[in-house]
């Protein structure tokens, strides 16, 4: 059921699928991907920001989107979160079509946008309450669920302070708590650690991993930090000028470049090769 992506340069994706994808369910049917992207394209006027991208993400997989500034990572994420309609192509998230069933998709995803989205004028608790009600968490469970989520993100003590007074890391953790209160099937995070100091970054990832294991969500994130990619993700896709330049596990991509290669090398090599051959957007 999984398609080999035509645009992957020389990577045998199928043989290197994470175990989750190759596993079968009890009925013997293959486990469906929780995110399916097929030939997804988005144009802004003359600019093709995302150009025929296809990939699948397995349930519970942690998946990184990397690529240079302006590569189209955020645009892919906006389309998958129904914030932006694709120009062409198709995508489903948690089994629902992002264009035809956007509300069903939104009910099953969490999204932490690149720009901070918690309301600075409200307290942490008030922000959580807003999300709990928008996601229709039953009134009887709201308090307990919010308290639990805040405790998990180490925000209990700060819950009655306005978010304006939070550090960058605290605000991010609050947003992650807001985005996962409804236990989504997929958590999308666009550069969740940008602008955070090393301990703030570590805290965010520690919390995300605990949360992911607890609610069993797939996590899709973008980042410019290769060490995060190496440590956190199961698989990654490298996007360059709107196209999928490579996809696989960090090990796969490193192996491609030779035994000593780091992900940084892979990144540099793929983005520069593609530039030289003029394989980019018009």
């Amino acid at each position: 059921m999984r398609k080999v992506n035509g645009r992957c340069i020389g990577l045998e994706v199928v043989s290197r699928l994470p175990r989750a994808l190759k596993m079968s369910s009890k009925q013997g049917a293959p486990v469906a991907a929780v995110v399916e992207v097929h030939d997804l394209t988005r144009r802004f006027g003359a600019l093709t920001a995302v150009d025929g991208v296809s990939f699948d993400i397995a349930p519970r997989e942690t998946f990184a989107l990397i690529g240079p500034n302006g590569a189209g990572k955020s645009t892919v994420m906006k389309m998958l979160t129904t914030m932006l309609p694709p120009t062409s192509g198709r995508a489903t998230v948690a089994g629902y079509d992002v264009v035809r069933q956007p509300q069903d998709v939104r009910a099953r995803i969490g999204y932490v946008p690149q720009q901070l989205s918690a309301d600075g004028e409200l307290t942490g608790y008030e922000n959580m309450l807003l999300s709990a009600r928008l996601y229709l968490i039953p009134a009887a469970e709201r308090r307990a669920r919010i308290a639990e989520a805040l405790a998990m993100m180490d925000l209990t003590e700060a819950k009655d302070r306005r978010v304006q007074t939070y550090s960058g890391g605290m605000a991010r953790r609050l947003e992650i708590a807001q985005s996962t209160l409804h236990r989504p099937a997929v958590l999308f995070m666009d550069e969740p650690t940008v602008g955070l100091d090393p301990s703030g970054r570590r805290a965010v990832w520690r919390h995300v991993q605990t949360l992911r294991d607890q609610i069993g969500a797939a996590v899709v994130f973008t980042t410019h930090y290769m060490d995060e990619v190496e440590e956190v993700c199961d698989r990654l896709a490298l996007i360059h000028r709107g196209r999928l330049a490579a996809i696989g596990t960090p090990g796969d991509l490193r192996a491609r470049e030779g035994s000593e290669a780091t992900l940084d090398d892979v990144f540099t090599d793929l983005t520069e090769t593609a530039s030289r051959t003029g394989d980019g957007r018009k």
């Binding site: 009925q27 932006l84 509300q103 999204y111 720009q115 008030e126 009600r133 928008l134 229709l136 236990r183």
Partner: protein
């Protein structure tokens, strides 16, 4: 797809009435909480209508031909100033929507499963809180200036409904403008450009009988005129409606419904 056990594909009651109401109230409450955190905002907005009543009202009262049939000019003006202040407060909602987009807060709403119409109605509802608080200030001020107000409970209820409808109408109109212009700078420009004609091409501060024919025609299709007409009938003890209260409420209701439908379609554009 086969749902994983933690994420059952059971139908989630998004479309139920109580769920919808919860989402509308969530949006409105967030606004009210912000007002509570910053009550000075409400106070400062009340200054302008008071100045209109006290200064403009006192001066214009001496101009011949301005007062309505039998009543004093200040009686005539008070409902107009109430309508004006509701308009001026509501017209800021588009700006705050752009502001929320720039801050990133709007994304939090847009990515939630709440229907877009619930978001639009929630925002409109929040603007009615401001509109109603303005009304209280203006009632107090008008009473002090000797305006012959009606405190009949039925009339008060009628005024409340009119203010709610008008706040919803102009805040939603403003939201639509915001979705079109998308930037703060452009909104500031066009906001001024739109508010003034809505205000002056209406029956708010002078009787339509002194207007030239073309302006009278515009004021006849201006929703603000219907709000003011309804307010004149219900706010004043000796007030009367010119168009008929049924028409006043009917026009406002229809326009609110139309604008809400339009805003529901356009609101998501703001985050694209």
């Amino acid at each position: 797809m086969i749902p994983s056990p933690t994420h059952p594909a059971r139908p989630i009651p998004w479309a139920t009435a109580t769920g919808y109401a919860t989402q509308v109230m969530a949006v409105a409450d967030a606004e009210v909480l912000k007002l509570r955190h910053d009550p000075m905002d409400l106070v400062s907005r009340a200054v302008q209508p008071i100045l209109w009543l006290v200064l403009f009202g006192q001066v214009m009262a001496h101009v011949r031909g301005l007062s309505g049939a039998g009543g004093s000019y200040i009686d005539f003006l008070a409902p107009g100033v109430l309508a004006q202040s509701v308009l001026f407060v509501a017209i800021f909602y588009g700006l705050s929507a752009i502001w929320e987009r720039d801050l990133g807060v709007l994304h939090r709403y847009m990515v939630s499963p709440a229907p877009r119409s619930a978001l639009v109605i929630g925002k409109a509802l929040a603007s009615t809180i401001r509109g109603l608080s303005q009304s209280i200030v203006i009632y107090v001020c008008a009473a002090l200036l000797g305006v012959r107000l009606s405190f009949d409970p039925g009339h008060i209820l009628g005024v409340t409904v009119l203010i709610v409808l008008a706040s919803a109408l102009f805040s939603t109109f403003s939201l639509i403008i915001a979705c079109i212009v998308k930037t703060r700078e452009r909104f500031m420009g066009i906001g001024q450009f739109l508010t003034m004609p809505i205000f002056f091409a209406s029956n708010a501060i002078y009787p339509v009988s002194v207007m030239p024919g073309w302006l009278r025609a515009i004021s006849r299709v201006n929703p603000l005129s219907y709000e003011v007409d309804g307010l004149r009938a219900l706010m004043l003890s000796a007030g009367a409606s010119q168009f008929g209260l049924g028409l006043d409420f009917g026009v406002l209701l229809v326009v609110v419904a139309g604008l809400t439908l339009l805003a529901t379609r356009m609101y998501p554009r703001l985050t694209q």
